[in-house]
Symmetry: C4
Subunit: 232 residues, 4 copies
């Protein structure tokens, strides 16, 4: 593998990237398994399909969420030069928690369909818990990278992952708050926040990357500046 540039003992992130891509691709398509032909009497298909709207909304929200996670994962790994055992486990922690997302998504869709308010409070609480765990796994991941700047590419500003931490921490807080609002006020409040959060993260991630170049040539998007001579 020509990407390895060191004689030190850490590993190239290539295989971790391929493995993560496969897991995220599977999880994002697992969501669709909930879209099934509804069981219905002859002639009742249209109304049965229309009644499934919570499932469609849940599919859209979770797809959006996982798409943002994949983009952030990609943005983080373009800055990682090599991985040690700790970073591998931090990444496996992210994969473990994001693989949970289809489950509370299905629970919310199920309870929205049946309409019991107590169950709906429980369902949004479960989703909030999963969302908070996922943000927590990102917080651990970013913190590890912030403490190990030697794992990042040379061109990456040492403070990059330090600055990513607050966003993950705020995510934990927002999911906990959304869950509390869903349980104490109304599940719909939580559901709206669940829909807005990935959009917020998608936009701010973009914004963070597009600030005037604070570090090297890494001003616009998610790619790090690489020395032309090393590629030519």
């Amino acid at each position: 593998m020509r990407r390895r540039r060191t004689t030190t003992a850490r590993s190239d992130p290539a295989r971790a990237i391929a493995f993560s891509d496969a897991v995220i691709a599977i999880v994002i398509t697992l969501l669709v398994l909930d879209l099934r032909p509804p069981e219905t009497e002859a002639g009742g298909l249209l109304s049965a399909l229309l009644n499934e709207w919570p499932t469609y909304l849940a599919y859209a929200a979770s797809y959006l969420y996982l798409a943002v996670i994949w983009l952030n994962h990609k943005a983080a790994f373009t800055r990682i030069r090599e991985m040690d055992r700790g970073l591998q486990w931090a990444n496996l922690g992210i994969l473990a928690t994001l693989a949970l997302i289809p489950w509370p998504t299905a629970v919310i869709a199920e309870t929205a369909r049946r309409g019991n308010l107590a169950d709906q409070r429980v369902a949004v609480g479960l989703y909030a818990l999963a969302g908070a765990l996922l943000c927590l796994s990102w917080l651990i991941f970013f913190s590890y990278l912030a403490r190990h700047p030697d794992l990042t590419k040379e061109e990456v500003d040492d403070s990059y992952f330090v600055r990513e931490r607050p966003r993950a921490l705020i995510g934990v807080g927002l999911y906990v708050a959304a869950g509390a609002a869903g349980v104490l006020i109304h599940p719909l409040v939580a559901s709206v926040i669940f829909l807005l959060l990935p959009i917020f993260y998608g936009l701010t991630s973009h914004g963070f990357d597009q600030r005037p170049a604070l570090f090297g040539g890494d001003g616009h998007d998610e790619n790090v500046a690489t020395d032309k001579s090393s590629n030519g």
Copy 2:
């Protein structure tokens, strides 16, 4: 990654390609999950299997459709040099809509098996909606590339993705028309069009590529001419 050739800030499409391949591979095999041992009384397996013919036809049609999509995805990405955030989302939009295909496929197979005409109209309408959405996501993707020629490889004619747009637009129209014909005339009309459309797209895509070389060495198939010296 040695494929990155620029110091500008966009990202290499390699990971988006790997992720798309995984999603399309999963979706194309999800179709097979509908092929199950039929529940039947002892001795009734043969007739039960033969009664499942709509499922087999739906499997064949959707496999064909997704295979054509994968080939077109590959043809498009061999022309893309780097991706920005907007192109990533356009690609994620394609993946989101193509992941829907197994669902209306299963609904059509289910209603064909049970034979209620009203439900069959609804089912082909749903499939038409999904097909139109998918063509729409391609239209957005091609339009984005047509407006951002800097994302394509140098050897690619700037008008390539401009010329791809009408085909996607026609697809939206044809799926809407097929759905309308299925609802207003007979579901079978729509089903036949659904089967013919991927064949048409497979053939015209081939045709487009095989026209006399309008740009550089890109005359025959889906590969762009690359400078020999950069590969030697």
Copy 3:
């Protein structure tokens, strides 16, 4: 992509390989989805698990079959330099038919569990049909390569894929014969042949590759001799 060595217009097989790997990996693990906790009364788990033996055997046989297919797919693609549209479709045909294998596998396991002889005849007939279709798709694939020697690597003997064709043709015949024997004589006869066929193909594929080097340096296994200078 540095592997492209030509300015001609065909595409690099890299993405077709990645896509095929993903599809085969999914299909080979779909088999395991049939292994579920059996529904049973309290205390009846052990006997319920033991009664599932046809499923275990079917899992083993189909895993073995798909593993041999993957190895053959790998052996074929190490000899392919570039792909045109026809070869892409030949490969997609292989993927379409191999994705069918878990279905007749599950049907055989289901009928073996319930023990109705008429259904078992149908089940082995279905498996024979799928196996014959798969061999047929390989025959088309090998024939295409035999007629297009320009798609293979320079070091590969032009007769390599010519010589692969009879093996695929024999496979079609053997699956048809096994199915006929299963329907006319006894399903068990067919099942035993189904188990032996992948073993035979695994061994002969090995044997073919290990014959004294008839062509270039490609004597032993599945790798083609490559010019040292181009790798050093």
Copy 4:
């Protein structure tokens, strides 16, 4: 493929690695398919979710186990230079046995939920059998590599895979012992050992790698020292 450095006839491990990654990614996410919205009466969701705790524990344990396997697989393959047919089958054997893990995991979760002690003994016995088979497949894999040092990278100490064998052998013994303890004493004893074993393997794998450099530059983690000049 530029990684091939020999004119001898074995194959590059790249495709076996990609295939293994895909299989392990699928198996690790198959576990999540067991997390479904529980079927419950209106208002009973919370207690139903809490009653599912054995499923959550089983998910965590098996995820941990498969993550350790993936890390070990990665560590082994960074030391492999090329593969022959025998090593391909040894790797396919590992994939076949690890794909089994979700099944006994689901059986344990199912019996824990229903609480019949006899069934729980059977379930832990099944899990122990699967675990022992998996360790056995690793033993075969390591033994093959120990007998074929020519397949490993030049920088790798010939005794590396010799020293890996006892750990796999101990694993076989520990799983058999845990199963026996679960059947003869109490299923809970086995379950605790099942949870501890991956942790033990995760830690000792780490420990083995971090010993003072006994061979070349391969002292710390899972990457082999590579000649700087071949990468520069």
